[in-house]
């Protein structure tokens, strides 16, 4: 039987956590009951990207995009859409409906039409458990071309011509990195895929591994061929069980077809890939710490040079590339460096995947050409800020990056421009911060993270992050002085310049960039003893104004019974007992409770 319709069920981690796991069996049940099971193909795909609206079901050939799908909806979709051909309008993603009640196809939605998908080219479109679907989309053609028609040096030159730079954060030119390892002669070399994604709020690599694992494997093999390595490792954290499972399936399928193993494509090139699980330490995303972890040691970084390209894993020349970089590598070999270099800007070629999160409507995974402005990403793709609140800043690069204020939103996204603005590309976490957030508190959050994740080997990072965290605590409690802010800034600069590895060198970035762009907020905490965002609890004082109608709602709901007053009388808060939970403020029908 030939299938007349394909039902794509998003099975990325986000959708699964929102209940997508049982959708398939629901489909099986209802399609079988209707007697049309064999006419319809069910495909579990990787992340579709618009995580905020998941779980998704996309039905082809029409390309109808159903969002927020629940188990009980499947019966309707089967009976109406698949059996009778009537699209279930109430389940279609809002933005996919035009005012004339016409239904737009999946790729015509604004969220997607503004994107350019290179690394994510197959994500959400193919079944990651089926190597044939990857091959059907021209997968492994790039590898074949490299092995049969190009010398390793030509592959490296192609990579250099493409202008591809590392997508893990630093932005080092990939081709150049390969060239160093190529030139270092050795009996054994290694390539490593760095899948130790650790930024809070980042999930690009996970989505890529879950949605299109072969694109990463192919990139790793090409890298191996280029530098002369026959062994590759994928270092992935154990916190990504689905990604690990998909990788294992992909590796075994590639082996079965002879795309991994001995004499690939009859070219004489042998390659093997092994998965190594990390325990989930942020520092292991740093190259030398990652190598130490694979070798079985404790994940700690060491001095560079020697760089891994000269002395890496077990002392052999090694290159380490990020997941997204490798997915770009396989694309470049297939479409050609020239085509790839047409995307992006002069110094930053290609696209970048971002995981968009925080106070944003369409949280999810987006891939845009370099040079796109932050405003376009946030307002046109991301849909803006919920409840029409004011945007305060965008944090890129996670705990190693910085905050970009609203005034710089029209800046194009490039490696250099982001650094100039006091932030960095990072691996691609993009957290949108609205007016109801406190910048001191956000700094405190990131520093708490880096204190936890510091490996402890070098003093500036081990002691410095802890001290900076303590200073932020003092400032946010209202006990700080203006001198504290100056000392914090001085210490931050010191830690930045004297730490051993990227973790410590970048840990002060949130503080430095926020001091640059939001210094007045820090000063409000120490001078006015006020938290402008209304977040820092010690600085919040709740008060009941004369508008109180004496409805007793606040008193009834207060968890610590600190509100007194009788019916139809003005109520009062005993501030010494108040825990500042804000329940009374939210529940008051006449907004008579304010924080001062």
């Amino acid at each position: 039987m030939i299938e007349r319709a394909h039902v794509l069920i998003c099975s990325g981690s986000m959708c699964v956590s929102r209940g997508a796991k049982s959708l398939r069996s629901e489909f099986e049940e209802h399609l079988t009951r209707l007697g049309i099971r064999d006419e319809i193909k069910l495909v579990n795909t990787g992340c579709v990207g618009l995580c905020e609206q998941g779980p998704f079901v996309i039905i082809y050939p029409e390309g109808v995009f159903y969002a927020l799908v629940k188990n009980k909806d499947i019966k309707t979709i089967c009976e109406e859409h698949l059996y009778k051909g009537r699209i279930v309008e109430k389940l279609v993603f809002d933005e996919a409906m035009t005012d004339e009640k016409e239904i737009k196809a999946f790729d015509e939605i604004k969220f997607y039409s503004k994107q350019t998908r290179v690394a994510l080219r197959n994500c959400g479109l193919i079944n990651p458990d089926d190597i044939e679907e990857y091959i059907a989309r021209d997968g492994y053609r790039g590898l074949g071309k490299a092995l049969l028609e190009m010398t390793p040096l030509e592959v490296i030159e192609e990579m250099q011509a493409s202008g591809l730079r590392g997508r893990g954060g630093g932005g080092f030119p990939t081709g150049l990195k390969w060239k160093f390892a190529y030139q270092n002669e050795s009996d054994q070399k290694f390539v490593i895929c760095n899948a130790d994604e650790g930024d809070p709020g980042a999930f690009m690599d996970r989505a890529l591994l879950e949605g299109d694992p072969h694109a990463v494997l192919e990139g790793l093999m090409i890298a191996g061929y280029a530098i002369g390595a026959d062994k590759g490792y994928i270092y992935v954290r154990i916190e990504y069980p689905t990604a690990i499972e998909k990788l294992k399936i992909a590796i075994s399928q590639a082996k079965e077809l002879g795309l991994l193993g001995k004499n690939i494509f009859g070219s004489g090139f042998d390659f093997d890939i092994e998965i190594r699980l990390g325990a989930g330490a942020f520092v292991c995303g740093e190259e030398t710490a990652l190598i130490a972890s694979i070798e079985g040691g404790r994940g700690m970084s060491r001095n560079k040079p020697p760089f891994p390209a000269a002395k890496g894993l077990w002392g052999k020349p090694t290159i380490i590339n990020n997941v997204e970089t490798l997915a770009n590598v396989s694309a470049i070999l297939y479409i050609g460096a020239k085509e790839f270099a047409k995307i992006g800007t002069e110094k930053s070629k290609g696209t970048k995947v971002f995981s968009l999160g925080g106070n944003i409507k369409n949280a999810g995974l987006v891939e845009v050409p370099m040079g796109t402005t932050l405003r376009e990403v946030i307002y046109e793709i991301g849909g803006g800020i919920p409840q029409n609140k004011q945007l305060k800043a965008v944090q890129t690069g996670g705990p190693s990056g910085g905050a970009i204020p609203e005034s710089l939103l029209d800046m194009p996204i490039e490696y250099e421009t982001l650094v100039e603005a006091g932030s960095m590309m990072g691996s691609g976490g993009m957290v949108v911060i609205d007016e109801d957030n406190c910048m001191v508190d956000i700094c405190r959050f990131y520093l708490e993270f880096t204190v936890d994740e510091s490996c402890g080997k070098c003093t500036p990072c081990r002691e410095g992050t802890k001290k900076m965290y303590e200073m932020l605590e003092i400032i946010s409690s209202g006990e700080g002085t203006l001198e504290d802010i100056d000392r914090l800034e001085k210490l931050a600069k010191m830690v930045k310049s004297s730490s051993l590895c990227g973790l410590g060198q970048a840990a002060p970035n949130p503080i430095l960039s926020m001091l640059e762009h939001f210094r007045e907020e820090f000063e409000a905490h120490v001078v006015d003893k006020r938290c402008p965002g209304g977040v820092c609890k010690p600085l919040i004082h709740l008060e009941i104004t004369k508008d109180c109608i004496g409805c007793t709602k606040c008193a009834t709901n207060c968890p610590v019974d600190c509100i007194s007053g009788s019916i139809k009388q003005l109520h009062e808060i005993d501030t010494s007992a108040c825990i500042k939970c804000g329940i009374c403020k939210n529940i008051c029908p006449v907004d008579a409770i304010i924080s001062v």
């Binding site: 007349r4 989309r137 074949g144 077809l257």
Partner: protein, 121 residues
């Protein structure tokens, strides 16, 4: 995997699996599949269309079930959309479906016998 040809063979065979997913700018065949259409026998008609297209390897043609077209008395109804051009067939059975594929889709000649104009003017 011994050569690029091996890969191409797998690719060509596998491509049918995924061509449906993407922009469909070619010919669309719509089959009226509301309750009336189904009871009049639209399902085997649609299956026949799908099978023939696959068997004959016709590119850029998709078959889509659609809702009630409104002419219940002359179901099953099949519409062929080629850009702006719309051809509506009615009282289509499996044999007519085969003719639509052979004569209209492949041959480019409308199957006059079942045009809606024969039944309604």
């Amino acid at each position: 995997m011994k050569s690029l040809d091996d890969l191409k063979k797998i690719r060509d065979a596998a491509q049918r699996k995924v061509t449906m997913r993407g922009k469909n700018e070619g010919t669309r065949i719509l089959v009226g599949m509301a309750t009336c259409g189904i009871s009049a026998g639209a399902r085997p008609v649609m299956n026949k269309l799908v099978e023939d297209i696959a068997e004959k390897d016709i590119p850029n043609v998709t078959v889509t079930p659609v809702g009630c077209i409104g002419e219940c008395a002359i179901e099953p109804i099949v519409e062929v959309l080629e850009g702006e051009k719309r051809t509506t067939y009615c009282r289509v059975d499996v044999d007519v479906a085969e003719r639509i594929i052979n004569e209209h889709i492949i041959g480019g000649k409308v199957v006059q016998d079942n045009l809606i104009g024969k039944y309604r003017l």
